[in-house]
Symmetry: C2
Subunit: 330 residues, 2 copies
């Protein structure tokens, strides 16, 4: 059952993939005497980590009482968890997709808290790839908690790949919405749920890159109205000039740049490209991952796209009426 | 957690979807004092049902001993389970996607066995749609086992739809292998794992339907060599004559028919159609479900397909390097 529990933690983390930028997406599962208490994932940078959310949900399940503060307030959460009677989680086993953090950043260190709470066991899928943050596993093991590392490690490393990449350069995600037969143009293709998810992603990115012809033809606003977030900065990839009467230029607090110089890709960041065949072709050597929102329909009227990209499927899950399919360039 | 356990049972059943023909695909989960023991699914008609497999795996987990017979031999399995000490499963909770069968067919009745084993609780996603097989839930409840029905019922009904359809007429599945950008022609597209799965499906069907032009151009054998099963009967959909020197005619114990009369679709059965754009277009009013093996790649050279089909995604899961995507016509 170990693999099943870790897979549940991975599933939860994939649900929030990239939305936690610049943090990694992490999932966790908590059991008490073999009984599954909860499956959770970190939601966004600054909010409580997955381990903390799992312990709070675990507390609620074990005590049959609700906590009276915002679970995503990591300082209140740590304070609360550390105030529980000694040994409260002593019969608990945790599965977490990444080694608990060993440094105090926006949130207090999870490893330090877990070393105090002394769970029965903690199973980690993969160790922290950032040397300065690692050491959490050892710290937890040193207090007598049984510690296992490396369960479903290759899956956890795939989940973690964007985080590893954006430590050193831009992580480049190309987003497409298509029908089942690969049609991408001619009106709205994906469901409202998918489009809302894509606006949440836009709200997280360092820069949204879009092609000059899309801007000229569609005159998009490229905001995050569906998720109610602030609009992203935009880079229009074009060799020519751009008509600045286009609505996307009118949005407050947004930086818009254009040109064909892509030096910004060398900077640690999260870059989202939205486009069709032309942009796929132009960026095919620079794309790290592809995200496809695939509608169930087969459509005759819309237009297909062509290029050559060798990819590997990473994860797929329902997104409203669509499928959300993640793949990486190989 | 109830929904999570039932979802695990549904996931297991989707894994064997249609391979259990003419039985429904059923999944089950067993817990002991809240601890998850196993997640299983029925494999093929005549083999042990999901409930039986769950109890056998549960026995092994609880006793730390292996059973010494073939778990898929339902008669031995029932005999063994009924020989266990009274109350052995008394602290167990089962989640099963379909009401346990209440009649003795190829396998003994699960409801009768479960009524003797007296579990703590049994949660059923949906009741048996066949009136003459139903009543299992009541039989189990009557002995004092807590019985819950209707958890994730709409999902369970989707899983069960082929079974309901093939009670009264042919269930028609259209199979496609495509790249991510919807290309379907020009050499092998799907992975060996997907192709092996499609051969397993072929081995279960009442008839494999294929277009006359595919037969003339590709001269396929349409066997099940990858799964080592017997080849299916074939119906070639064509208005013209067919060259009987084509290899598929040479296979022993296979019935081959051709023509454009589709009366056989009114007969309770399982029909698999393999084809491209022409067959999709020809059968678009007759297809119940679509099965797409989708490779991760985006390909420039292969050919796309066009038609208009409104579909609903039902389930998606990895199949080797590909995704296996089930959808239904709406």
């Amino acid at each position: 059952m170990d693999e099943l529990y870790m897979q549940l933690a991975l599933d939860a983390a994939w649900h929030n993939q990239l939305l936690t930028y610049p943090n990694p997406s992490v999932g966790a599962v908590l059991l008490h005497e073999g009984r599954l208490l909860c499956v959770v994932a970190h939601k966004k940078a600054g909010d409580s980590h997955a381990e903390v959310l799992a312990l709070l949900d675990g507390y609620e399940a074990l005590s049959n009482q609700k906590v009276d503060f915002d679970k995503n307030n990591s300082h209140l959460a740590h304070q609360f968890l550390l105030s529980l009677p000694q040994g409260f989680f002593g019969k608990c086993d945790m599965y977490v997709t990444l080694e608990p953090c060993n440094h105090d950043g926006k949130t207090p260190s999870c490893a330090s808290m877990l070393a105090k709470l002394k769970l029965k066991s903690i199973t980690i899928a993969t160790l922290d790839p950032i040397k300065s943050h690692s050491g959490g596993a050892k710290r937890i093991e040193d207090v007598g908690t049984a510690l296992y590392a490396g369960l479903l490690e290759s899956k956890a490393k795939e989940l973690l790949e964007p985080f590893v990449i954006w430590q050193k350069r831009a992580f480049v995600l190309f987003k497409l919405a298509q029908t089942t037969n690969g049609k991408i143009t001619g009106g709205t293709i994906s469901s409202l749920v998918s489009r809302t998810h894509s606006h949440k992603l836009r709200a997280r990115v360092s820069k949204l890159v879009i092609g000059g012809s899309t801007v000229r033809i569609d005159r998009p606003t490229l905001d995050c109205r569906l998720s109610g977030d602030m609009p992203p900065d935009v880079f229009i990839y074009t060799k020519g000039d751009v008509d600045q009467s286009i609505p996307l230029f009118d949005i407050k607090d947004r930086d818009v740049a254009f040109g064909d110089k892509l030096d910004f890709l060398s900077k640690p960041s999260f870059i989202l490209i939205e486009g069709g065949e032309g942009m796929l072709e132009a960026f095919k050597e620079k794309i790290d991952w592809l995200l496809v929102y695939q509608s169930p329909n087969i459509d005759n009227e819309k237009k297909s796209y062509n290029t050559n990209l060798r990819l590997k499927h990473l994860y797929a899950s329902p997104m409203g009426e669509d499928l959300m399919i993640w793949s990486k360039r190989i």
